[in-house]
Amino acid sequence: MRRLVVPFLALLLGTAACDSGTTGPNLTVSATGTAIGVAFVDRNGNGILDPTDSPAPGIRVVLTPRGGSQVVTSGVTNSVGLYILPNVPAGSYRISVDSATLGDSLQVARIDTADITVGNRDTVRTTIAFAFPSVSTAQVRLMTAGRKVQVMGIALNGWATFGDSTIAVADAGGTIRATRVAAVNVAAGDSVRIAGTTGTRDGQPVITAASATVLASGRALPAAPTLTTAAAATAGGGHYDAALVQVARGTILSGVVNSAGDLDLSVDDGSGLLHVVLTARAFNNGVYTAGAQLAATGVLVPAAGGQTWVLRPRADADLQVSFLSVTVATARTLPVGRQVQIVGLALNGWATFGDSTVHVLDATGALRSVRVLPASLFAGDSIKLVGTIASRDGQTILSSVAATVLAAGRTLPDPAVVTTAVASAARGGKDDAAVVKIVGGAIKDTLTLPNGDYRLHVDDGSGLLEVILDRDLGLRLTPFLPGVVVDLTGVLIPKTGGASWQLKPRSAQDTNIH
């Protein structure tokens, strides 16, 4: 119909019947912009392009509508990881990566930002961070060597703890050891991401050539299971490889410094031998001596050769040393050099004789301790002594002693009253270091010794007994003249050579002049 009408109108109206078009060009959005970006392998896992990160070339970057998957345009990253998508129709898109162009082990870690809006003549920049696949420690243990992975977990030790750039990491399903970790400030308890290559060291899977990133600090460490020394030495059949474990109580059999300068303690709780290796200079080595009881927490690390594991405590705090608790009677039977602990009553104060000797009494007898570390203890205190069995003047003593007061002011038993002759022989040695009392002894002679002590010879008629009034007692000596009859109490100390004992009163109360 219109074909007929228009010529008719033209004829009738003498016009060109206006323009014949019914519609103008429709308004459409024809604007375009550019999307560019860089793709990189985020080696340290922080999602940010750092100098240490490497470019990711050959990756296809794809632009899709926000609601769909149709590819609007795509481009491939060049050798420095850069892609350019020119002439992108203006709009809002999602940036993604064609997974077919990713290697086996790379994964997209972060796209900043994935949802972009390209405007007219606009250039929108995006960074795409790739990372190794994030796997669990249990998965790492099942993987073949050479795969690039990352694990996230709690660091069981710091980067420098063992002096060998290894970090053990625990996640919910297990533990793994990272070796050759690039220097990083990681402390035990940090939440870390470890990226590296799967491998084997000493027969156990590890992540090697690793880098670590601290995600958070101060997280709770996993509970350390308690193993026997024998179980720890085999890591529970490998189950506890790289795990944090503890052994409750073993005895240090020996300690040697190995070639790396570390202290290698052989410990046995009776089930079997375990090597506990203390990193050089990180420990108070003097404490960890043979015979000591050791409770240790540490990371189980396979020993060279892979058949056994050593326990590597991380610091002194991982170790608790304790000693054999013995009676005085037992101590007197022990060989020289054993460290023991004795609990009893102090027969004299630490400063009584001015020579750091303390005498201790338990139900089985008394023992002399020398070289007692300074301690505020007095006669009658209940004390614990830790020291080394030694021998002096033919009698067993405890030497190099650390004393601890357990309770103060206990009542000492009344001393046994003996004759001077018996005292001089310490009842055949049985009363060595014990407190005894003589009654009615007459002073035979007196002498001031070069060290200031005052020496008496006393005899109650049974024989002579040497009595030393220590100058540190601060006694008034004028009454102690030959011929004076006295009652005296004191500790029996063997004389040099050990043939006889001398009596050392401890204070003025130990003397009584008739």
Partner: protein
Amino acid sequence: MNVKRATKAFAVSVSACLVLLFAGRAGAQTLTSGAVEGVVRDSAGGAMVGVNVTLMGVSTGATRTTVTAQDGSYRFMLVGPGDYQLILERIGYRPVHVEGVAVNEGQRLDVGATLARERTPMGVADVQRLPGAGHERPGLSEWIPSSAFSRVPGDRPDLTQVARVSSMLGPDLAAEGLPPSYMGLALDGLRYEVARNPAYPGVGLAASLPLTAVSFADYIGAPVDAEWAGSAGGILAAHTPSGSRSPAVRAFGRWSVPSLVSSPNFDTHGLSLNDGDGGVLFTGPVMRDSAFLAIGVEARHTERALAGLWPQGMGSDLLQVAKDSFGTDLASYTRPRVARSEAVSAFTRFDWQVSADNSVDARAVFTRIPHADDGSTPTVSAGLGPTYLGNDFVASAGLRSVLGGATANELRIGFDGSTRDFGTTDAAMPLPLTLLASPELGFGEGAASQGHFGQNTFRVRETLLHDVGGQHLRFGLEGSSTSYDQAYQFGAAGTFLFGSVADFAARRGVFVQPSSGPNTQFSIGRYAAFAEDSWNPAPGIELLFGARFQREKLPSGLITRDAGWLALTGISNDALPRTRVRTSPRASLTWDVENQHEWVLRAVASSDDDPWDPAILGELATQNGTIHVRRGVGTLSGWPALPSASEAPNQGAVLSVLDPSFRPPRTERVSGGLTRALGRGAAFDISATYRRTDFLPGRTDLNLIANPLGSDQNGRPLFGALTQVGALLTAVPGSSRRFAAYDAVWALQSNASSDYWGATAGIHGVDVGPLQLMASYTHSSAHDNWPSAWTLPSGAWAPGLPVGAQGPADYDVPDRFVLGAELHGPLGLRLAGLYRYRSGLPFTPMFPAGVDANADGSVGNDPAFVDAGVTGMSDLLSHFPCLSSQQGQFVTRNSCRAPGVHSLDARASLGLFRLGGSQLQATFDGVNLLQSSTGFVDAALLQLNPAGSITGGRVPYVANPHFGASLAPQLSGRVFRVGLTLNW
């Protein structure tokens, strides 16, 4: 109204009479005045020169004289409307008096006469009646006296009633397959605009003119007169009555006892309708024989019964759930409603014949509509409420001067102002607008449905007429300035959509809410110059050529720039052309065969541009990126409270952008017709029109993703991620958007076109015994690719089908038939009836409200796919040929059609008393007697099976068992009323 003219009009216009006329003559009249001309011959047929011709107003007594020219012709230009008689005298010849010369605005009378050479006593004259076809107006016109549309009762007693007696107009004044907003309105030759809600193009369009202020109306389909600015859908011109020589008062009152209402379609028990109107019209002289006044007031109150908003038998589940789960009583939605409207209006007109050659006039009409409720349903527009208040004022004044015999001048100024304030119907039920997809029910309105629209226009027009050498020339200048005021918040109260009653109970659905936007005020200046020439190349043949040059000046700085959109797309939303110049040529040919006024052939061609639509400028100014839409899909836990920001997050800004090539629609039209006068005022007319309108506005979503993301099982492209929420289907918010920061971004484009052809045949003024008849039939076809006729600029729910899908127009009505009859019996008994038929409107089988099958973020643009395998489809296929013929494909646009609409209104009146000039009549009215289809049906073919789920792109569709069912809310009850009418 002039009593005598009114009486005659009643006599001439039989019952609902309709006069179809075609004319192509112009040059001596304007749109507000008429002309009388003719040729005087002697008995031998020779032209008589020097005959004195006197034109005398019957009611005014004023006279004008002229003398016939060499060819025997005479002409009175710019004759004010009224009844005249013509006296022709020459010495030696018997004088002739011609009576019944009725002049109307914009019309020209051809009054020829023959003088006999006969000696007669002085003062004796031949008295002639003017023969049949008298009224002529350039262009194709349907002339309708007010009596035609007031003699049979109707439910809307205003100018809209003209549509009832025309087979060319729809009930809402839609014409030629175009929406009613494309109809131009004029009063006494000057255009006026009624403020309107762009969402409802037809509401209140012609409500402002009271019937007392209308003496007749014209539907001018093809305006050829250069004084007319074009409208794609034609012009409805109303004309006021003038004053009278002797004082007269006419009062009328009509009151009905509470009417009886019945309907087979809904329960009308307890409905009581009150109806009445009344008015007084005074006409009389202000100065004897020269100045006249008409003044009138009128008030009316009308009520109309409508079916409940929910179809009978539906919604009981919903009632129960609302009551049990939410403590809300929705029973009022099941009950029938009463649409109620009130209006008070005043009218005045003053005419003053200052001298024989100069006259002035002034007219004014004021109407206040204190309450109007069209009873409309909740709509997916979530727009403005269905009630409104209105104020309209139209005034004009003119000065007409005849400057010598060959030149005349008219200056006319006018003002029109209009406001519409929209609101909700029921403030006591402040429920948010809530829609269900299956069954398709809705309730609530939302608290923020208010809107204000206003416009004020000053107009001035100067027209100069000049006759030279047989050429009738007309030149003119015209200017107007219109200020518009728009304050509206489409959908800002938020809209809930639920798939089913169960979904509603579970509060799972879809929520949409645009934020409030700015209001806007702006002005448009319009200027025009026009020129026209007509002449007679041969006796009985007249040619006319005219052109109109128009310029529109659009506001600057109206739109705030959205810098974000500009940066994203390079497209600026604030680009608006400043001015636009357009040329509208017109031409017509009239052939009065043998000059006998028996066979008259006419042809008219024109090209016209519509003015800029203020709704488009308003949309651009308000949807400037500051309105954000939030959408929620899934759990809406707070209903009726609006969902939280997390349930319905912001989806971005809505924006409207004007296409740089946008221009107002252009209409090219040719029409032709033939009139055969049958004598005694009866005539047979046949006419045909072809119209083509280009550059109709459409909208495209610029923020729709460039390419579909996939397709469903039928191959329907999906523009977003489709998600099913119970029985709803929608796009995951944002998934269909090209730019994330924006919701819909509408490009307003003039990319649609409409074609119409129609043929009308009619008879009028035919007497068959005591029965007087008129009938008119129009067959037409309107096709377009323009689904936007009813779509909204809200961003919430739009647009229609994509432009480009050709099909029958939304307003395509192939057949319209009107039959009017009136029977006068004894004892003042009068029986009148008006039967109308029109085809149902076409529709596209689609989905229920809220289903977005293609996930493009818009609903209502998804044609259904006819799949015989869908549950329930086989039943529908056997009932609907439009479906069975489209099996295995997407339905084409408007490929189905609702059933035709029959209606019958009747009135019987009986004179009771006559006291002097007063007549009391008993009146029995029957309105809407035939309860036929409404012409609107449920167009949702496919629904979602809530038990199913989208798997592998396959959407679980089931057929809607109610497809094609008549939409009951549109049903109006049958009304019987008894009343008294007093005409005094």
